[in-house]
């Protein structure tokens, strides 16, 4: 299955005339939308955002695609569509949103939309050429969500880069992510501050071309 899918992806890449579709995945509040916004600011429009960033989990409840972003890094070029996806979760309890000051009605609505968002994120995996898997470098990376995403990407033969985000924070430990997933490429960045983004773009150009 993995081998066949890998060959199909390779063939598709050779024959491709369209943009490379890159999905941004990860747990809620890992910084996926901040990363998507950073990529758009760096290569498309400094004033445009793909989505709103919030401390309340599941702020992104629909997948959004931004088309035709030309990423350049050390002479290499890669034209991509960036797909910012809702955070992958196994549980969504509307009570959790009440702590952020939402009314019960708002919390229930948000929970309902968030469940639909997770399903949408899963469906998008069928249409992607590559994935940026964002992990919060201040948190334990060995979560079931991360393990399930990585297992599915491997099974489908979709190339991916693990983005160890939030390295600007004092308690960030990107080495913990590298130790947890030693067989995969890990790039530490701060999507918020723009730290080490050049390295990520180089890696994207190398792996997703």
């Amino acid at each position: 299955m993995g081998l066949r899918r890998g060959l199909l992806l390779l063939l598709r890449r050779i024959l491709r005339r369209r943009n490379t579709k890159i999905g941004i995945y990860g747990a809620p509040n890992a910084g996926k939308t901040t990363l998507a916004n950073r990529i758009i600011h760096d290569f498309l429009d400094n004033t445009e955002d793909i989505g709103v960033v919030s401390e309340i989990p599941h702020e992104t409840r629909r997948a959004f695609r931004k088309e035709g972003i030309l990423i350049t890094a050390k002479g290499a070029k890669l034209r991509v569509d960036i797909v910012d996806t809702p955070g992958l979760a196994t549980k969504i309890d509307f009570h959790d949103f009440l702590a952020y000051g939402l009314s019960e009605e708002e919390a229930k609505k948000r929970a309902k939309e968030a469940t639909e968002g997770v399903i949408e994120a899963i469906k998008w995996l069928d249409d992607l050429d590559g994935v940026l898997l964002v992990m919060d470098a201040t948190e334990d990376p060995y979560t079931q969500a991360n393990i399930v995403i990585i297992g599915n990407l491997e099974a489908r033969g979709i190339p991916f880069i693990i983005v160890a985000n939030k390295v600007d924070l004092k308690n960030a430990a990107p080495a913990r992510i590298k130790n947890a997933f030693p067989q995969h490429v890990v790039v530490p960045v701060s999507a918020l501050k723009g730290d080490n983004m050049e390295k990520l773009y180089e890696e994207m150009a190398r792996r997703f071309r």
């Binding site: 899963i122 393990i147 399930v148 099974a155």
Partner: protein, 118 residues
């Protein structure tokens, strides 16, 4: 067990053998797990679920979340790869209701969880 009050504290575990799982299709496994978990049971699968089955389980869980069912907590060891990485072997998977089960530590060979009756 002396009274109804104590019975309510009981937690039911479904320990499913690898052979039993092998006779089920992926959808049957997922339905079996979700039905058990929605009844408040902890389901332990000896043979485990593949990453694709786990993703399908998450997808189906999302479609069934409501005010009474907040979702699942799931823990499993990563898939082991055989010669040249061609053969995958799934390992134990544990699934429980999100409001009863909480994973407190996890690495590639250990899952430590707290299970409590709500």
């Amino acid at each position: 067990m002396s009274g109804g009050g104590e019975e309510e504290k009981d937690i039911k575990l479904d320990l499913i053998s690898e052979d039993r799982m092998a006779s089920m299709t992926s959808m049957e496994k997922i339905r079996f797990i979700l039905d058990g978990v929605k009844l408040g049971n902890i389901v332990v699968l000896e043979g485990g679920l593949t990453p694709e089955e786990q993703m399908k389980l998450i997808e189906m869980t999302m479609s069934e979340i409501d005010e009474d069912f907040a979702g699942i907590e799931i823990g499993s060891y990563p898939v082991k790869r055989g010669f040249l990485g061609l053969r995958r072997r799934t390992r134990l998977t544990i699934v429980g209701p999100a409001n009863m089960m909480k994973t407190i530590k996890k690495d590639k060979d250990l899952i430590r969880a707290i299970i409590s009756r709500v």
